[in-house]
Symmetry: none
Subunit: 194 residues, 2 copies
Amino acid sequence: MEQDEGNNININNGGGGMFVKVMTDEQMEVLRKQIAIYATICEQLVDLHKSLTSHHDLAGVRLGNIYNDPLVASGGHKFSGRQRWTPTPVQLQILERLFEQGNGTPSKQKIKEITSELSQHGQISETNVYNWFQNRRARSKRKQQVSAPNNNNGESEVETEVESPKPQQNSVSTADDNMCFQTPNMCSVDQRAK
Amino acid sequence: MEQDEGNNININNGGGGMFVKVMTDEQMEVLRKQIAIYATICEQLVDLHKSLTSHHDLAGVRLGNIYNDPLVASGGHKFSGRQRWTPTPVQLQILERLFEQGNGTPSKQKIKEITSELSQHGQISETNVYNWFQNRRARSKRKQQVSAPNNNNGESEVETEVESPKPQQNSVSTADDNMCFQTPNMCSVDQRAK
DNA sequence: CTTTTATGAATGAAGG
DNA sequence: CCTTCATTCATAAAAG
């Protein structure tokens, strides 16, 4: 095993090799604090903007309305929007915070409050909030189930190296749950849908 | 237990053993999402600035892919094995066969069996199977809709999506949820700016 | 190498 | 709550 400068550890025991990302507790703490500061700045900026532009009624140009794509607009017809609600990043932060706060059971009254609170950051309805909590819980629950059943196959080499000439049959490492790296991409132009 | 036995990994190759703290895939995912969210907020703020200041020198500043796999890019290593599953030809064949067999409804139990069966032909998880059936069904259904000649007259046609009546005003944004890092109290911004 | 297509995965919403 | 559906996003694979 060797450790390079960039907190990557190469575990190489005989047959296969595997890279894992490592971090000390101290590094984690530093990171966490930095992110927290980042969050604070962002939120304050958003609020600042909101108060500064409150008289302009940003309702139409609301944050995150990136899907008001020029393509549709140039098309000359309808404001093809989308029907399904999508939480803004700020809303998500708040929701997640509430979720992990242990207020596991969103009561009817809570829903109202939360909705009211979140509406400061974008259009939202009580149903949206309700559904979000329902889905959030169900999803996290399912994830727990998935991450356990591995009794049979003792050990197999972990094919984490993408560059290996091996075809792309499977690229899953030790874990079985499937996570994918998806970045919120607000800039991408939707060119699919023929 | 998570996939890594509590993010401690015991590296024991031959000689001595050693424990290091590592981030689980899930933690990495969480971190990435969190950062992505803040990146999104910042970008929105930039856009807001643009519309507010209505300057002239714009449209060129595309922040584009700042968050295009920042984590993966780090260190230039391809450790981040999180790629999407791709069925092997054999697996695909079996899946197709099951799909045609009229077992239209893949129950939870069936999923397990199928997964177990397919795992002999390559890496796969229950989620993969589940998703596959979901997608398969949705896809074939849509195909039929398109090809289904319900065209009474050549009036309204095409346009996979329609401008359905807007049930409510929705702000639009794209982001994913999930984040576990608790924002500390230093983040005492009052969210209501009105 | 760039663009297009096919498809695995994520998720809001509805049904039971 | 839990399951299912529909829609969308991102990326591997294919085409140029």
